[in-house]
């Protein structure tokens, strides 16, 4: 690995208050060094393998069969290392590159150890191979993690590749993190119907399913409950009773001990009394809604079943013993009481509706969650199958070896299928997507994306707005334009997502800290603050401030998990320990002093301390959106910190990875930064260091990528300077020839000649030698001229004897690069024997309109054992008229003219611009950052140092001005310039400097298209559509209108008929139906009058004829009435 030349970077001069920008960014550096930039993905996958998977196995632990005493107990699950199974049965360790090249799946075997019980006696314990689990690249189970970074090159891997994706059938796929509303806790809202005043919803998650409970405060004061499993409104006391709180007193106490609230319960209690007064009555009533017409005992039985399974299933006990079940029922009743209380508080005006867009009410489902959901379903099916097989064998009196009856392909295929298509269980689509490798940033952005589950067609204005609580968690700048605005988000640079810690442990910890359980407290009249754990009321604490302090102290001392957050909001304490909370790290301020010391920073810089050490020492702590409500955060160090609780690690914490590359971002109008965040992902550069070996279906590579002269600290940290996507360009602001109006740019021909913005375009073509039933197979060879669809000898002229074009051969559109023949199809029954023997040509030609040099040829074997050939073409793309470029400030433009160097305006130093931008691009867009970058770039180029332009901390304008002045340039960046054409001094002084420009992947070479004549569609005989099909350019409705209005009927006729789908049709004048041509007599025949019809020849568009026929097929009689053409 080659290191960057250590260029000096000029930072803003600071007055040296600790911590300085340098110190603070040293922390960020440690954060990225120790955790990696896609840590949330990798950690989540590790969490799945180490925690979630064993838990699912434990849940499903016992497979009972229909046969008495015959059961399977799964003891444990084990995951091996990724390896590839060859068709001959041999196995070998596989590294990601091999999987990519061979279109294989990077997966590891999964083994289940289970014991078979016969007659309730352990019969045998076997470890079986249960299927393949796709492995995330660079996770703990990835083979790469066993290598040192120096050894990565041997495996054709880029050590700086972030990992965090899967390889499915050779393509890199990312599981996109899904944003969802928080589960297992009530969300209060105002009623959506006139009869409902307030309502609360709890989406409760059981193992593998969700059940919603809706609680409504009715206009009449009664509070009703609706369950997704029992969709009938029932007053809440009925449920309370059913769960075991029989007396009204208990019910009231389960809600609150506040008399004001208790008073409000009266209507509900009365309504409840009318229905049921005992537990059994209540169960009977509920059972009556589901088991209609059944006798009472069965109704009660059914009601209990449903309630135990679908009433707040998140509170279901882990074990099925009677005591745990009883306890769980009380817990559920208390949870219902809590929700009821919340509704009454709303009625009393003590509570406002919850803000659904508050980040505290959102959870991000990462790979662990999504894979667990998928796996649970798949596992169920797998075990069902196993059970069926077992029963079948047992019925025949045999006890089989488990491995022989296991269907290992169920897990393998279902998981692979879900990851390959993105279609998840539960109907979610687009969960996994192909990793974008346009450049390094686009890859990062994909891995850090968070998608909201809200539909994109509805407005959801509030959900799309930037919410204050997103600060430091989700990037404030990076979101797409258009229908996905605000719904597709990206993690902020320092954000992290929790994995979740065991709730029961935290609950016990809280009881130890003096939290009194709810009923106990209310019965004993203990006052204080209510304590909520993950949104569920668990008890009361008399001294809330002390509890909060104690928990925080314990966390800062590392005594309890740092994933536990505690917030004291209003009169309540909220403790969170669930997974999927986006949190952000902050510097802790205690007693008016930062806990971070210069010593810490020194040791951190020296590598003696890690980021996690600091977190464990309580110097840094993560806050979730709830706990942040208690924090008062200083952005920068201040003389008196006593009023603060925390300090930001960096001032630009609101930004994500992509937005961090924008220099002087704080000087731009905000949408411009948003545009740039989108465009940075389209810029061409060096996507990855191993691009020579990566046969992605398409890709680009910039000839001479440069690191930006005007840099930011974030840019350096995410590794952009090692994988840049742009070049530093001398940019002048003037309207030179006028060929840069409307955002066009003028480019210097000499710069282009010297290699400015040159890129290579790669496209990979691939084919496989497939095998067919009957021993037939494809052959990769030079096709014989007798093959059906033979393209003529010229098309195959580049092929070697093996039927593949060799490297460094220049090929153009239509020429074959992989020759292939396929066996004949058999359904051609009408054809003769001879045809049946002929093979079909199935060669792969270069795409129409494309050309290139064969760059790399790979001949390998797919996992199915077929010969697999991949050929990559490369094409040089020199900037040309119409290619698109952009600065880092959302200022994009296409080349409007290429001017030679001698015609370019020049300064007295002989400097000519590479790019001339029109000054009109600036005033209305207010991208002041670009002007500052230009000045900074000029100073950087003149002094040979990089200039730091980190948002809020960059080298300031006065410093830049001083710098320029010292170098003999005007402080405003303007210079006297002379016209290269006339030689005269330009009237105005010209703003000229150095700006980092990006070449965007929209290039003329990919889009240029024209057609005189060409293919037509079979059905309508109209010209095809689209460049790839050599289609025509549509003369659309509005264009048609213009011609009509103009009276240009002949032109219109020519366009719509003659040059389109003209058709000559015979019409029978007697019946007005189109006639057909009888092939025997070669005379028109009418479907009604036969040959006796009176036929007229009419010229119509073929589409019209088609319409008539379609109408006829519908049973409609379209009658044409003909008359003479009016001359």
């Amino acid at each position: 690995m080659v290191d960057l030349i250590p260029l000096p970077i000029k930072y803003r001069v600071e007055e040296g208050v600790f911590p300085t920008s340098d110190d603070r960014w040293a922390l960020v550096k440690a954060f990225i060094r120790d955790r990696g930039i896609v840590d949330h993905q990798i950690r989540a996958f590790n969490d799945f393998v180490e925690r979630r998977l064993p838990k699912i196995i434990e849940e499903m632990g016992v497979v009972e069969t229909e046969i008495r005493g015959l059961k399977l107990v799964i003891e444990r699950v084990e995951i091996g290392w990724p390896r590839l199974k060859e068709p001959d049965g041999s196995e070998s360790l596989v590294y990601p590159m091999e999987a990519r090249l061979r279109n294989a799946t990077y997966s590891a075997p999964m083994y289940l150890t289970m014991t078979l019980y016969v007659d309730d006696e352990p019969y045998v314990t076997e470890t079986i191979y249960a299927g393949e689990l796709p492995i995330m690249v660079k996770s703990k189970k990835c083979n790469l993690t066993r290598l040192k970074p120096e050894e990565y090159a041997k495996r054709f891997e880029d050590p700086e590749d972030p990992g965090g994706y899967f390889i499915i059938n050779g393509s890199e796929r990312v599981v996109i993190s899904q944003e969802d509303l928080v589960t297992d806790r009530p969300i209060y809202d105002v009623g959506d119907k006139p009869t409902v005043r307030y309502l609360a919803k709890v989406i409760s998650t059981g193992p593998g399913y969700r059940a919603t409970m809706t609680v409504e405060y009715n206009k009449d004061g009664v509070i009703y409950v609706t369950l997704s499993a029992i969709p009938v409104r029932i007053p809440f006391p009925v449920y309370m009773r059913a769960m075991g709180l029989e007396s009204d007193q208990d019910i009231v106490l389960a809600v609150s001990d506040d008399p004001d609230i208790q008073k409000e319960l009266l209507p509900s209690l009365l309504a409840g009394q009318e229905i049921a007064t005992t537990k059994d009555d209540a169960l009977d009533y509920i059972g009556g809604k589901i088991a209609v017409g059944q006798p009472r005992p069965i109704r009660i039985e059914r009601a209990l079943q449903i309630l135990d399974k679908y009433f707040l299933p998140n509170l279901n006990p882990k074990t099925a013993d009677e005591k745990a079940v009883q306890e769980a029922r009380i817990k559920k009743a208390l949870m219902l009481g809590q929700v009821v209380k919340g509704l009454i508080e709303m009625q009393l005006g003590r509570r406002k509706p919850d803000d659904k867009d508050h980040v505290a009410n959102k959870r991000v489902r990462l790979v662990n969650d999504l894979l667990a959901q998928l796996f649970r379903t798949v596992m169920k099916q797998f075990l069902q199958e196993l059970k069926n097989q077992l029963e079948k064998y047992y019925a025949r009196g045999k006890i089989p070896h488990l491995q022989t009856i296991v269907r290992s392909d169920i897990i393998t295929e279902r998981v692979k299928q879900a990851l390959a298509t993105g279609n998840w269980v539960g109907g979610k689509t687009g969960v996994s997507q192909i990793l974008d490798r346009t450049n390094y940033l686009s890859t990062l952005s994909y891995l850090r994306r968070v998608v909201s589950s809200l539909s994109r067609t509805q407005p959801h204005f509030e959900a799309r707005d930037l919410h204050p609580t997103q600060w430091g968690r989700l990037c404030a700048v990076e979101t797409p334009e258009g229908q996905n605005v605000g719904l597709v988000k990206n993690l902020a640079l320092l954000a992290e997502v929790t994995m979740g810690v065991d709730e029961a442990q935290v609950e016990n910890m809280l009881y130890e800290q003096g939290v009194v359980p709810v009923l106990e407290a209310r019965r004993a009249g203990v006052g204080g603050a209510e304590v909520y754990l993950n949104g569920r009321l668990i008890g009361i604490h008399p001294e809330p401030a002390k509890l909060v302090e104690a928990v925080r102290a314990a966390r800062r001392q590392g005594k309890i998990s740092d994933e536990i957050n505690i917030a004291h909001i209003g009169d309540s304490i909220y403790v969170n320990c669930d997974g999927g909370r986006i949190r952000r790290p902050l510097l802790v301020v205690e007693d008016g002093r930062l806990k971070l010391t210069e010593e810490h920073v020194k040791r951190l810089k020296a590598g003696e301390l890690t980021w996690n050490d600091l977190a464990k020492m309580g110097v840094i702590e993560y806050l979730d959106a709830d706990e942040e409500e208690n924090a008062y955060i200083a952005v920068n160090p201040e003389p008196d910190m006593s009023k603060y609780t925390h300090m930001e690690i960096i001032p630009s914490a609101i930004l994500g990875a992509i937005a961090s590359i924008i220099p002087y971002l704080e000087h731009n109008q905000s949408p411009r930064n948003q545009y740039e965040a989108a465009m940075a992902k389209q810029s061409l550069g060096l996507p990855q260091a191993n691009f020579l070996y990566k046969l992605d279906s398409r890709g680009h590579m910039l000839y001479y990528p440069e690191r930006p002269l005007v840099t930011t600290r974030g840019l350096e940290l995410i590794g952009y300077s090692r994988k840049p996507a742009g070049q530093n360009s001398v940019v002048a602001l003037l309207t030179y020839t006028g060929y840069n109006i409307e955002d066009a740019v003028i480019m210097n021909k000499a710069s282009i000649d010297r290699g400015f913005m040159r890129t290579n375009f790669y496209r990979t073509y691939e084919t496989e030698e497939q095998k067919y039933p009957g021993g037939e197979e494809d052959r990769i060879e030079i096709p014989d001229p007798s093959a059906r669809g033979y393209r003529g000898p010229e098309a195959y002229s580049h092929l070697d004897e093996d039927g593949i074009a060799p490297p460094e051969v220049y090929v153009t559109g239509g020429e074959v690069i992989i020759g292939k023949t396929a066996p004949p199809r058999f359904y051609m029954t009408l054809e003769t024997e001879k045809i049946l023997k002929e093979r079909r040509d199935a060669s792969i030609p270069v795409r129409r309109g494309e050309r290139g040099i064969v760059d790399k040829v790979i001949i390998t074997e797919s996992p199915e054992g077929n010969k697999l050939v991949k050929v990559r073409l490369r094409e040089l793309r020199v900037p040309e008229l119409g290619d698109k470029f952009a600065s880092r400030h959302g200022q994009k433009g296409v080349i409007g003219m290429i001017i030679r160097q001698e015609d370019m305006p020049f300064t007295e130093d002989g400097i000519v611009p590479d790019i001339i931008v029109n000054p009109h691009a600036l005033p209305s867009r207010m991208t002041v950052g670009q002007l500052l970058e230009s000045i900074a770039g000029k100073a950087a180029a003149l002094t040979g140092q990089l200039i730091d332009a980190t948002p809020f901390e960059g080298v300031g304008e006065p410093e830049l001005r001083d710098l320029l002045l010292k170098l003999g340039f005007r402080w405003d960046g303007k210079e006297v310039m002379y016209s290269g054409i006339t030689g005269e001094k330009l009237m105005a002084d010209i703003f000229i400097g150095v700006v980092y420009y990006q070449k965007l992947h929209h290039m003329v070479a990919d889009k240029i298209h024209a057609r005189a004549r060409g293919p037509v569609q079979i059905l309508t005989r109209q010209p095809t559509e689209g460049r790839s099909r050599e289609g025509g350019l549509r003369l659309g409705e509005m264009e048609r209108d213009v011609l009509i209005a103009h009276g240009a009927s002949a032109l219109l006729h020519e366009r719509m008929v003659e040059s389109s789908d003209k058709y000559t049709m015979y019409v029978c004048e007697l019946c007005g139906l189109p006639a057909y041509l009888d092939s025997k007599t070669n005379r028109p025949k009418c479907p009604i009058h036969g040959e006796m019809g009176q036929f007229a020849k009419v010229a119509v568009p073929y589409a019209f004829k088609l319409l008539l026929q379609e109408l006829i097929s519908l049973g409609i009689y379209p009658k044409l009435e003909l008359s003479e053409i009016l001359e």
Partner: protein, 276 residues
């Protein structure tokens, strides 16, 4: 009467004060230097072997940009080369590059072996490509005399000029003097009035005007310029400028000839145009 006074000169750099011509004339010599003075540059590369990671076309592009020494006297004039009056081989030189890496190494311009003793890379230390152990390159490169009009690799040098500055002091201002001294250095003496225009440039003077709040005003002498030429090293700046003047003169005479031809062919042309 046009005149020129050289104020700075070394092998590759020449600076002169030129007087008495309109800007278009000074500009035309600048344009000729940039786009028309012929030099050698590699134009055709026959790659025999290239196992480096660098693509053939990229290597060829880099080779093309290597400046080659160009002893113009030893070769036919560029016009003869272009018109085909001489055998094209007389206007071209073959260079070869043959390297095999025993260990990781960098191939430099000096590794190019020329058939002509006086046509060789100007800067031997220009890196061309890095080779890893076991990689090798063997190629033949054909350099040809050409002009930068066609491609920037044939550019011989650079030239630019500025208007001869004229300083008008409105009032004495020590603050202004301080700024101007920091920008223009020794051009100023004890006061703003003591100013030597040849030691400062037009743009620099404008720089100090901009920060002087109207104490000074900057104007320029009409038809007076400071012109500089810089050769990229293919030949000395003298040779380059001489060749530029030769080409420019040729262009002037060609223009005159064309003009004469046009007037001779249509003696009544002027009248016709007038009546038409």
């Amino acid at each position: 009467m046009p005149s020129a006074k050289v104020i700075q000169r070394d092998r590759l750099y020449l600076k002169a004060v030129v007087e008495g011509v309109p800007p278009s004339i000074v500009n035309s010599i600048r344009r000729v230097v940039i786009s028309e003075v012929p030099v050698f540059a590699i134009d055709n590369v026959v790659i025999i072997q290239n196992t480096s990671v660098m693509y053939d076309e990229m290597l060829a592009h880099r080779l093309g940009l290597v400046p080659l020494t160009t002893p113009l006297g030893q070769f036919p004039k560029i016009e003869e080369c272009e018109s085909g009056l001489v055998d094209p081989s007389e206007c071209s030189v073959r260079l070869t590059l043959q390297v095999a890496a025993d260990d990781d190494m960098v191939v430099y311009a000096r590794d190019l072996v020329s058939d002509h003793p006086d046509v060789k890379p100007v800067y031997p230390d220009m890196p061309l490509v890095k080779l890893a152990k076991g990689e090798s390159i063997a190629l033949e490169a054909y350099a040809r005399l050409g002009r930068a009009k066609e491609h920037a690799k044939w550019q011989a040098g650079l030239s630019a000029y500025y208007y001869y500055p004229k300083l008008i002091v409105k009032r004495d201002d020590s603050e202004c003097l301080k700024i101007c001294k920091s920008v223009c250095g020794e051009a100023f003496g004890e006061s703003l009035k003591e100013f030597d225009p040849e030691k400062c440039t037009f743009n620099k003077l404008k720089t100090c005007e901009a920060s002087c709040n109207g104490s000074i005003e900057v104007d320029w002498e009409r038809h007076k310029y400071v012109v500089w030429f810089e050769s990229f090293g293919n030949m000395s700046v003298d040779e380059m400028v001489a060749e530029a003047f030769r080409i420019l003169k040729l262009k002037f005479s060609a223009f005159l000839e064309a003009l004469e031809r046009a007037t001779a062919a249509q003696p009544a042309g002027g009248q016709e145009a007038a009546s038409g």
